[in-house]
Symmetry: C2
Subunit: 555 residues, 2 copies
């Protein structure tokens, strides 16, 4: 049985749900022993620990110019001392180009089989990847497992499915038979989906696999070779992905350089050198807006970006404001606000939030929100695990700076003790009240656990400001609470025009930060937060070109 | 019966062939009285003549700041004196923005119905459009009828079909039902295809409808409002399209400003002002590479370009070289080489072209080619109608310049008499021999009837040069003649990598210049000749954004 046949049921199901957009998860999100094995967690942790302080020897890439690695654990505030091979740009490009001329000719079935098999292999390494993710990004254990393991694998599967479907969109050949009156003009036509070439995937420090695998698998599925350039602070999780892809390639007698890891250091970043190289045709990037916009403007490249945004919550009315406050407090605490989908700007009318038991004032909501934040932070069985650690020290500085904003500080950021990691770099949310007139304060992303409670005249102004922020500065998510169908329609319409998905009236165990594969288009591509979306059709169609050749049928 | 129901069979068929890529023409290409009516031609000509020297009064656009029109007939070398209303950019944008908020909410069925009805109305005006096209572009009668009438309408239908299909790609709503162990998390999700806003379509002087209608109909189908900015030298044909779209809109109680004509003059071009306007989100452009590349680099815009290319013919071997020479001579003579798909660089090995009766030398082929050009030019019943007239005087200058190129001039450009238009601006092809080493000569588009016979070492060099030209300078078409399957594969592969479609071994009544709707992707988007393709999925998907909203199911 070929790898394609082995994985065909999964692929078929994935394509089906890609259209139906109903629930589907090929990789169970709970690290349950029943699913992943009784010793999987312990084994994964042991394997992770055994990687530390050594050269990462799993890659099938030779000829390195040296070894380097600068990852630090936000939990231990100590270097991991994992070293990765370093390659010159010329070496990476030369090998990628050579591998391209092999990979581009491989059938879509064979490509899909290999890529799906690599995900199957990775499933066995989800725990190891989880620990690698914790100790590079600072994510809590559960998020690290889910986001870097099963959720990332589902997103990768989604990209494979979308790519496979688009490659199947048009026939390989057809007879074009045109009646000309006395005779028919008959032309044999054929169409090829021609991959664009070398694809560069530039990773970020907070979601090293989830944000990169769609680009990697999307490009590989459509026949491109890939250079994976991780953030120097978060290499190990995606290095394991690349290693497994190379394993499956080599086992099937393909050049492992079809997918290479291109590690660099903080002192000598190679992103620009790679991105500007004439042989690099595709670029995927997650990160800051400045570098993302520079990449988007590079001539002759097809570029997919996820940059930064200013995410809003519009508070108009609610059945139960306690549940609302609890839900939003979780969203802000989750991974200490270091998600691209975390809410920042909370728009609350000065007349308060309507509830079934009368209007709650601005201050009443602020108090409830702060109380819920504190209660989660101070719950030793939940808080430390939800908040995790802070990836970058600069985020801690930004949180401290936020306390100096001109407005009432409802909650100061503080430290807390992580029972497992005493030296963890942590920061709890800061909450500041800002007047709607002070647009300069809330018109930019304040990355990290920073929540601004913005007092507006009314919900119409809240909507207008949320829309304006998204159109001008980008937005990846939006929360809205209203019990009024007319207000709901107004919000849905206004935010649609700002290309921002709205989560309405979330309470309980579902949060505006979460985007599910096969259903939620992550980043729409329609506002400044990014120019691409996981995974809409053009996310894969732009990775190749349809070229048709033709020849008359011989008489 | 709604307009959608009326035209649904056509739409269904169009979507079907868009995938099958077999022959389909919704609009018969022959101006046969049996199809279009006994008096259609005479009526159309009379209507065209009645338009001359007057204000074009068909548009439903008021508030003009003046009237202007500078079109000249290349056949008469006289101004048409048709005047069009001129509007300020602010006025055009304000009205388009207001109309957008109506049009974006119209269902895809209703939009499709209106647009298909407009094509039905235009069918009755194909002859009038043909004469308008002849006397602005210089195209011969048959090409003017086909390209601006039925072929353009087929391309428009193709864009409507592709847009309709993409808008139907994902469900309007779905229940996302996630098993959580003891309960299910149920979320109602909905997805909206949100149009991007105002779409600017900038036309060219040689194919004023064929090259513009796909952008116009593609944008309108996906809910955008459109500003049609024709080339000041070729307004009338597309003005008739806009007038008919406005007619159908108004009859159905829609704001006719959903599609506006935005005329300018050579002295005061408004393309840049419109393109750079913050409210303009989409730009379609056909024309020179310099302006096209400027548009592509505008930040925050989605841009579709067809620029210039250097089209090659690779001559390796042939069954019957006379038929080859005849076919290529027709391709070069056709509309005096003013098609973006016309061949320019003919790569011929110094060892000659292999045929069933031995190798024909380079010189023998050159002689045959020149003889075929002359024989068509000198045939008074065919030549003048195939060659047509020259749109732009600069093209005639370029042809004269080409005679000074360093190489043997196999054929000088000359004049000929058009029996119907004694004052027509005409130019027959110039044919110059160039050595393969003189790359600087053939590395650019020499727009017009200019053919370069390039002597190469062998077919491998011919292929390498054709590929290099396409990758470096763009190519929209490629012709190749070979009887060797291995050489054919090599050419097909090499030109695929240059994203250039190849027409193999064309003889008889089919030419490399021709691209058919529903089957041939016109301009692939994968080389510098343009960044978009008629009509691949992304040609329409990039005109709107998928945005998903969600809300938990109430308990």
């Amino acid at each position: 049985m070929s790898l394609f046949e082995k994985h065909q049921p999964t692929l078929t199901k994935a394509i089906e749900v890609l259209h139906a957009r109903t629930f589907y998860a090929a990789f169970p999100e709970h690290p349950a022993p029943a699913v992943y094995g009784e010793t999987a967690d312990a084994d994964g942790q042991a394997k992770f620990k055994n990687t530390l302080g050594k050269e990462f020897g799993e890659l099938m890439q030779a000829g390195e110019s040296g070894w380097a690695g600068q990852e630090e654990s936000p939990y231990l505030q100590e270097p991991l001392n994992v070293r990765y091979p370093i390659f010159s740009t010329d070496d990476l490009i030369t090998k990628s180009k050579s591998a391209f001329h092999v990979w581009r000719k491989v059938s879509k079935e064979e490509r899909a089989g290999i890529l799906l098999e690599s995900l199957d292999r990775l499933k066995r390494r989800f725990f190891e990847i989880a620990y690698a993710t914790m100790h590079t990004t600072g994510q809590g254990y559960m998020m690290a497992f889910q986001a870097s393991g099963p959720h990332a694998a589902d997103r990768a599967l989604e990209a494979i499915a979308a790519g496979y479907e688009e490659l199947s969109r048009f026939p390989k050949a057809a007879l074009w038979d045109k009646p000309m009156g006395k005779f028919n003009l008959q032309i044999n036509k054929e169409w090829r989906a021609v991959p664009k070439g070398i694809s560069l995937v530039i990773g970020c420090s907070t979601f090293p696999t989830w944000n990169s695998v769609t680009g990697i698998y999307g490009s590989l599925m459509t026949g491109n070779t890939v250079l994976v350039k991780p953030h120097p602070g978060a290499i190990l999780p995606i290095a394991i992905f690349v290693a497994e892809i190379q394993n499956v390639l080599a086992e099937n007698n393909f050049d492992p350089h079809i997918c290479q890891l291109a590690v660099d250091t903080f002192e000598k970043m190679i992103s620009k050198e790679l991105a500007e190289h004439s042989e690099v045709k595709l670029i995927d990037f997650t990160g800051n807006s400045l570098f993302g916009s520079y990449l988007e403007a590079l001539p002759g490249k097809t570029v997919f970006t996820e940059k930064t945004g200013v995410n809003s919550v519009i508070l108009d009315s609610a059945d139960d404001l306690d549940k609302v406050a609890a839900n939003l407090a979780f969203s802000v605490n989750l991974y200490s606000g270091q998600m691209c989908t975390a809410p920042q700007n909370f728009f609350i009318p000065e007349t308060g939030i309507k509830t079934s038991s009368g209007a709650a004032t601005f201050d009443q909501f602020a108090e409830k929100f702060v109380a819920n934040l504190n209660s989660l932070i101070d719950n030793p069985k939940a808080g430390p695990f939800v908040l995790g650690a802070v990836q970058n020290k600069k985020t801690c500085d930004r949180v401290v700076e936020a306390e100096k904003l001109p407005g009432k500080v409802w909650l100061k950021s503080r430290s807390f003790e992580n029972p497992m990691f005493k030296k963890a770099r942590v920061a709890t949310p800061v909450v500041v009240e800002v007047d709607a007139s002070k647009k300069e304060i809330f018109s930019k992303e304040l990355f990290g656990p920073i929540a601004l409670l913005i007092k507006t005249k009314n919900t119409d102004q809240s909507i207008a400001l949320a829309q304006e922020m998204a159109i001008q500065h980008g937005a990846i998510s939006c929360g809205a609470y209203t019990t009024d169908p007319e207000v709901k329609d107004k919000i849905a319409d206004a935010m649609s025009l700002a290309a921002t998905p709205v989560s309405f009236n979330l309470t309980g165990g579902i949060y505006m930060n979460q985007n599910a594969a096969f259903s939620d288009f992550h980043v729409t591509g329609g506002n400044p937060s990014g120019n691409a979306s996981f995974t809409n059709p053009e996310y894969v169609t732009r990775r190749f070109t349809w070229v048709g050749h033709r020849e008359p049928v011989k008489a």
